[in-house]
């Protein structure tokens, strides 16, 4: 496997991870919805479940950013160029910037 093949595999794995993390987000969202049926909004369990949903959603967004970064690396674009070359999807780009485009 040469470098290009390895970069391609990395890109495909990042794409596949989005669906995996979405499945986890759905599980957390359903758990929150079930708690809300029987507990008040200010109950600690509801607050914890809500925080878990926010974290799961952030994980999906992180994977989307990583996918864009891996795809650009395959194409020969360095990570620090990505935020400058793309300005249409702000959230993943912010994530990429935090990942290491310093």
């Amino acid at each position: 496997m040469d470098d290009l093949d390895a970069l391609g595999a990395q890109y495909r794995e990042a794409k596949a991870a989005i669906a995996t993390h979405r499945q986890r987000q759905a599980t957390k969202e359903l758990a929150l919805a079930r708690l809300r049926r029987r507990l008040p909004e200010d109950h600690p369990d509801v607050s914890a479940a809500r925080a878990a949903v926010v974290k799961a959603h952030a994980d999906v967004r992180w994977c989307q950013g990583a996918t864009i970064a891996a795809g650009e690396a395959y194409k020969g674009v360095t990570l620090d160029q990505v935020p400058h070359d793309r300005n249409v999807v702000p959230d993943p780009i912010d994530v990429i910037a935090r990942m290491g485009a310093r």
Binding site: L4, A19, Q25, G76
Partner: protein, 181 residues
């Protein structure tokens, strides 16, 4: 972003709400349907010398479009790689410089994963005609099932009796996702 079977994100049960995750995947799937993996590259401005009786894989340093990281402009530029498994429409157009004798056979191939046995496909073949001021263009296309990581390339050959090299320009080389394989 990638297509995903919605039931892998959330198995819908009566009484359960549809989650934001499920709705986001619906949106990504719609984006996939309207903008499926597609890549078009070329070698315009970079004609390649094709030696007599030699198979030559054409480089493609330029991109027209590529929405699934299928092509690299820095490494193995001749390749279009399927990052999404499926059936693809694959084609190429090349243009040969004026050929200085008649009936020189010209070949245009699409090759998969280096073009071993069963992975080389002849998509166009014609005899060139020598006319002052005329180049010879040839195009062809086919459909191929590609696994994730499979790559395709455009390859040419010419056989002339003068035993000289002839310049050939890759005007377009493309792969467009059609369906699941």
């Amino acid at each position: 972003m990638a297509y995903a079977d919605l039931t892998t994100v959330q198995a819908t049960d009566p009484g359960d709400p549809l989650t934001a995750a499920w709705c986001d995947q619906v949106r990504d799937n719609d984006e996939f349907f309207i903008d499926p993996p597609a890549c078009s590259v070329d070698g315009l401005g970079s004609p390649q010398s094709v030696a007599d009786s030699t198979l030559v894989v054409l480089s493609a340093p330029n991109e027209k479009f590529d929405n699934d990281s299928m092509h690299s402009t820095s490494s193995n530029t001749s390749r279009i790689t399927a990052q999404t498994a499926g059936r693809y429409l694959i084609g190429a157009t090349v243009n040969w410089q004026q050929i200085l004798e008649n009936n020189v056979p010209l070949l245009l191939n699409i090759i998969r994963n280096g073009g071993g046995a069963g992975d080389a496909f002849n998509i166009a073949q014609l005899p060139a005609i020598n006319r002052s001021g005329f180049t010879t263009a040839m195009s062809g296309a086919l459909t191929l099932v590609l696994a994730a990581g499979d790559y395709v390339e455009a390859r040419v050959r010419q056989d002339n009796s003068l035993n000289v090299a002839i310049n050939c320009t890759l005007e377009e080389f493309y792969a467009i996702f059609l369906t699941r394989g």
